[in-house]
Symmetry: C2
Subunit: 332 residues, 2 copies
DNA sequence: ATAAAACCTTAAAACGTTTTACCTTATTTT
DNA sequence: AAAATAAGGTAAAACGTTTTAAGGTTTTAT
């Protein structure tokens, strides 16, 4: 019942604890028979090394930490699954921390002898925390902000380009009055997609009309309500098309408009972001800019491993992919 | 750049390391001013305690481990999110391990001084591993199999009852020839749902016809192919209704049948399991038995905390909820 | 004035490993 | 036969904490 330690194994095998350690860690100076004997003792006693002791001493853990404050968002699985596979391929494990407050995050990043960390939704490290992270020398890859440092990389979806491309697609379909479904202004993705949208409008000489920007905080329900109340406004003008900051808001918008008697895409085209599982099943099937999560996960791990190997931090941007389905119509 | 330890803090504050430890752990005998001084030093040096050292000594971690071999399955988020919230409420953290092989799982369970573990998809512990787990005295809750022991509980979705209820629903709609879309025979849920299905058939005196059981391994694609090839068989008879072991196989089946020219639910009713996000958006919207994942997660954590408090292990079963949508029709 | 109690602080041991440097013994080389 | 090398083991230190038991002051009670 008491926990079996390396000492018990040593006694059982009639050797010193150093020898047990050597046997387990494949140190080459060990005699084959001795090793055998140790392994038998390990087997017999069901010995499993204590990782805290091990990490404490060796300083390494061959473990990567993935930090996020929420697991919602349906692309999450895909991201993590890809990460785990890539880490595994390289002989690392990933452990996932779902933590809400930054102090807890810091304490786990710094206190666990992780070889490196992946940070998905940081909820805003402040300057001081960022500095302790930098100062710690722990390799880190951020997935939600652009940043680079000696030991810090980041890999972000190129939301600016995505917003730009999607808007241009709508313009090329012949649309003029193009609205935007915004998330919170604090969200990097929302801001960048909006920037891209504005840039495309500007490039084609289309004037931006702020009455066509509706804030739905990237939530289906919130967007539904916002759009619904906008649509009921006496001076409401339906845009030709709408660029939604994400698929959820696109869906909320379509539902709201449908319930107000409009028909999508006949009365208005709409394009989303992310390509959720749901989007292909939705009616109308959603045209959207796919966020290549699996690729992002894989590359994030690779970048982290590079940092661990001693390479310099860098920023990398990933292009989205326009998935054309049935939610947009060409203007006749 | 070097890692700052408790020793550095002690020196900075001009006290012993014991005092630093006491200050940080709110030991009540400490003088208020001393504590203040220590805390200042901590702040100044950006000291964050090493958790490996801490756990090694104290044996406790106020951390729960959640073990799974895959994050797929769209209910995963919901489950984990609920768990994290419940753990947090009780002052615990959860860390998630996505591991494929049992030895790695064992090594993390036993080696990390976790206060307790949640096991989602065990991939089959063998007898010996189960015994080391039991012997370790580490409290564990299984979410995918029925088991109870001194320090082991389990909480499972009542798949038997779900299968029984769903089948009875189909029978009450007037269906007679009712088929089953099976997963792998090694899957607890598939087996239990099948048992429930058989029980309902038996109760209503309907003979089981094995030609109407198709194995699709709970995967949309596999099921699609299986159903498609079944449908093309010269002696194929379309059942009145089908009980799918999960929503994914239901969707695969519907797609296959639709592509073969059948119309669902007109030609055949079908009912799924799980209530995926997708299921409500699918056409036809899927009637399904909802697996109350959030509730399961919450209760699993509660049961684990009870074990940690010293209570005896137990098995608990959770009822599914029949969500009626448009994939079943009453027989005229 | 002395004894007892209360209050803080700390040295040292412990947690379970890995690693370093050293020690045997056996083998090879000279 | 002596010296050098190799092979295999090990004692002890170290990793960064917490905790125990034992201080040393100061205050309170006798």
């Amino acid at each position: 019942m008491r926990k079996v330690t390396i000492r018990d194994v040593a006694k059982e095998a009639g050797v010193s604890i150093s020898t047990v350690s050597n046997a387990l860690n494949d140190v080459d100076t060990i005699n084959a028979q001795t090793k055998e004997r140790v392994l038998e003792a390990v087997e017999k006693l069901n010995y499993i090394p204590n990782l805290n002791g091990r990490f404490l001493k060796s300083g390494e853990s061959r473990t990567l930490g993935f930090f996020t404050n929420t697991m919602s968002g349906p692309y999450f699985n895909v991201l993590v699954e890809a990460m785990c596979r890539e880490a595994d391929t390289n002989g690392y494990n990933i452990i996932i921390f779902v933590l809400k407050d930054v102090p807890a995050i810091m304490s786990n990043i710094m206190g666990r002898n992780l070889d490196g960390v992946l940070i998905f939704e940081d909820m805003g490290f402040n300057e001081a925390e960022m500095n302790t992270l930098k100062g710690s020398g722990i390799p880190a890859v951020f997935l939600d902000r652009e940043i680079a440092d000696e030991k810090i990389s980041s890999i972000v979806f190129d939301s600016y380009k995505g917003g730009y491309d999607a808007t241009r697609y709508l313009i090329n379909l012949g649309h003029k009055k193009i609205g935007f479904l915004a998330g919170s202004p604090t969200m990097y993705d929302s801001r960048e997609r909006f920037r891209g949208y504005r840039a495309a409008l500007a490039e084609y000489g289309i004037e931006y009309d702020e009455r066509h920007t509706i804030t739905g905080y990237f939530s289906e329900e919130y967007t539904y309500n916002s759009v619904k109340s906008a649509a009921r406004h006496p001076e409401f003008v339906l845009p030709d098309a709408m660029l939604a900051g994400n698929d959820q808001s696109a869906i909320g918008c379509i539902k709201a408009l449908t319930s107000e008697g409009y028909s999508i895409p006949k009365d208005m085209s709409i394009i989303g972001f992310d390509d959720l599982d749901v989007s292909q099943y939705f009616t109308p099937a959603l045209t959207t800019v796919r966020n290549p999560m699996a690729r992002q996960g894989l590359m994030a791990v690779d970048m982290l491993l590079d940092l661990i190997k001693g390479e310099q931090g860098m920023v990398r941007k990933l292009d989205g992919q326009l998935i054309v389905r049935n939610s947009c119509e060409i203007v006749k």
